[in-house]
């Protein structure tokens, strides 16, 4: 039970500022205090939905939390009769900024004839260990983009960057840094020549 508390608490703490930024940037008409309330209510609602089997299997939880929170924020605006000022920075001229990465890589994609399966598993294990300790903002950017289904624009809101392009540039930098770190780790473990 203690372990469960810790996990939920970690998620709650970890997502909090990102969520507040995200909603605040989308709906600037809401006060910070209101967004904080919404954040708490979102977590309670997400849990209730899950316990009542209202969440699809394989749901990506962070995306789901943000979506529920966003809907609650819209409802709050309506309830309070506030003028809806919803910021949508999506730009038709910049499709890349709003594109979401939807491909899921499977283990089968990695296995080919000349691969040593055991070596591959060790490499994946090492990679996962490296990924566990990604520094910010790389963790948010890479995980949100490649797994969470967030666009560059959405990530820009979360981490308070000024443009989606700068998020993209940072993403590529993070990826290169990760590659370098992994390379060092692989060399250490003699997983590559």
């Amino acid at each position: 039970m203690e372990e469960y508390n810790e996990i939920v608490n970690d998620w709650y703490v970890k997502l909090r500022d990102l969520f507040l930024n995200y909603i605040h940037k989308h709906i600037p008409g809401l006060r910070i205090e209101d967004i904080e309330d919404i954040y708490s209510e979102t977590f309670i609602a997400v849990r209730e939905n899950m316990l009542n089997n209202r969440v699809k299997e394989g749901t990506k939880w962070k995306s789901y939390i943000f979506q529920i929170g966003y809907n609650m924020a819209i409802n709050r605006m309506k309830q309070e009769g506030k003028k809806m000022e919803i910021i949508d920075n999506s730009n038709d001229d910049d499709i890349d900024a709003d594109r979401k990465f939807e491909t899921q890589i499977s283990l089968m994609d990695l296995i080919n004839e000349d691969d040593d399966k055991e070596q591959l598993e060790k490499r994946i294990e090492t990679l996962k260990r490296e990924i566990r300790y990604l520094p910010e903002p790389c963790e948010t950017i890479l995980k949100d983009f490649y797994f969470g289904g967030f666009s560059m624009t959405e990530i820009m809101y979360e981490i308070n960057y000024k443009t989606a392009d700068s998020v993209k540039a940072r993403k590529n930098k993070c990826m290169n840094q990760l590659k370098e770190r992994v390379k060092v780790a692989f060399k250490m473990l003699n997983l590559i020549d």
Binding site: R16, K128, Y133, N160, K183
Partner: protein, 262 residues
């Protein structure tokens, strides 16, 4: 084929089916003829798989925890954090050059940064253990990292001067006289038992650099990692983190450069 800014963008486009049929064929032909690119793409897919797989594992863990947690505990989590949050500023001004805004919970950043370095440190430790096999010149790594560091004494004219500062200055003078071996025990003692605990971060940086000057990467790493753990517990220690992170980043960069030479 469309000009991509870099290979990552090209790989993203290919995997996410954003290439036309012709582009796809061209990319695949390129993979067939360019071994380096093929390897890079393979590495990229492995990272992608591990990234997605890690997230998926974390999601499962969260789902299980969400199911297992009691109503009361859930309420406690959301209410206690809310109370803490309202006391502090939530949104700092945006920083230029695309840097992430400092979050209210600085602790989180400290924790993440420390964790990264912890891993890197463990990795480097492993790496050092395999030094003969990998044939990396760690002396050169140490020299390159420490060469930009200025060992400077503390201004003892201040009224806060104490015995520690005298000892510290003695150690620094020894280092500057190329007697680093003699300076290290003095700095170790100051680091372990400082009279003024606020000075400990400064001692830690100097000690780590002294070890580097002495070509002892393993002990330098020990100090850095130990200090990072302390920083997690003490928010006043955060100012020290930039220097520690910078130092660790230099070590990793130099190690990486050395590996690339092989």
């Amino acid at each position: 084929m469309k000009n991509f800014d870099n290979n990552i963008e090209m790989f993203d486009a290919y995997l996410d089916n954003r290439m036309s049929g012709d582009e796809k064929a061209e990319f695949e032909a390129l993979l067939g003829s360019d071994k380096k690119l093929k390897q890079e793409f393979k590495d990229y897919k492995e990272i992608m798989f591990a990234l997605q797989s890690s997230c998926s594992d974390a999601d499962k863990e969260f789902e299980e925890a969400l199911k297992g947690i009691s109503d009361e505990d859930m309420k406690n989590i959301v209410s206690s954090k809310k109370e803490q949050g309202t006391q502090t500023q939530l949104f700092a001004e945006e920083k230029p050059k695309g840097k992430m805004v400092p979050l209210k919970t600085v602790y989180r950043w400290v924790s993440a940064a420390a964790a990264v370095l912890l891993l890197v440190g463990v990795g480097t430790h492993l790496f050092l253990g395999r030094q003969p096999k990998n044939g990396i010149n760690t002396d050169l790594v140490c020299d390159n990292v420490v060469k930009g560091y200025n060992f400077s004494t503390i201004n003892s004219s201040r009224s806060s001067s104490n015995g520690d500062e005298n000892e510290y200055n003695k150690a620094i003078n020894l280092i500057n006289d190329n007697k680093t071996v003699q300076a290290i025990p003095i700095l170790e003692e100051l680091y372990k038992n400082p009279t003024n605990k606020q000075m400990r971060p400064k001692y830690s940086i100097s000690l780590a650099n002294a070890y580097l000057k002495n070509h002892d990467l393993k002990n330098a790493q020990r100090i850095i990692l130990n200090e990072l753990k302390n920083a997690q517990k003490d928010e006043n220690n955060i100012a020290n983190l930039d220097q520690l992170l910078e130092l660790e980043e230099k070590i990793i960069t130099e190690l990486s450069n050395e590996l690339n030479k092989k």
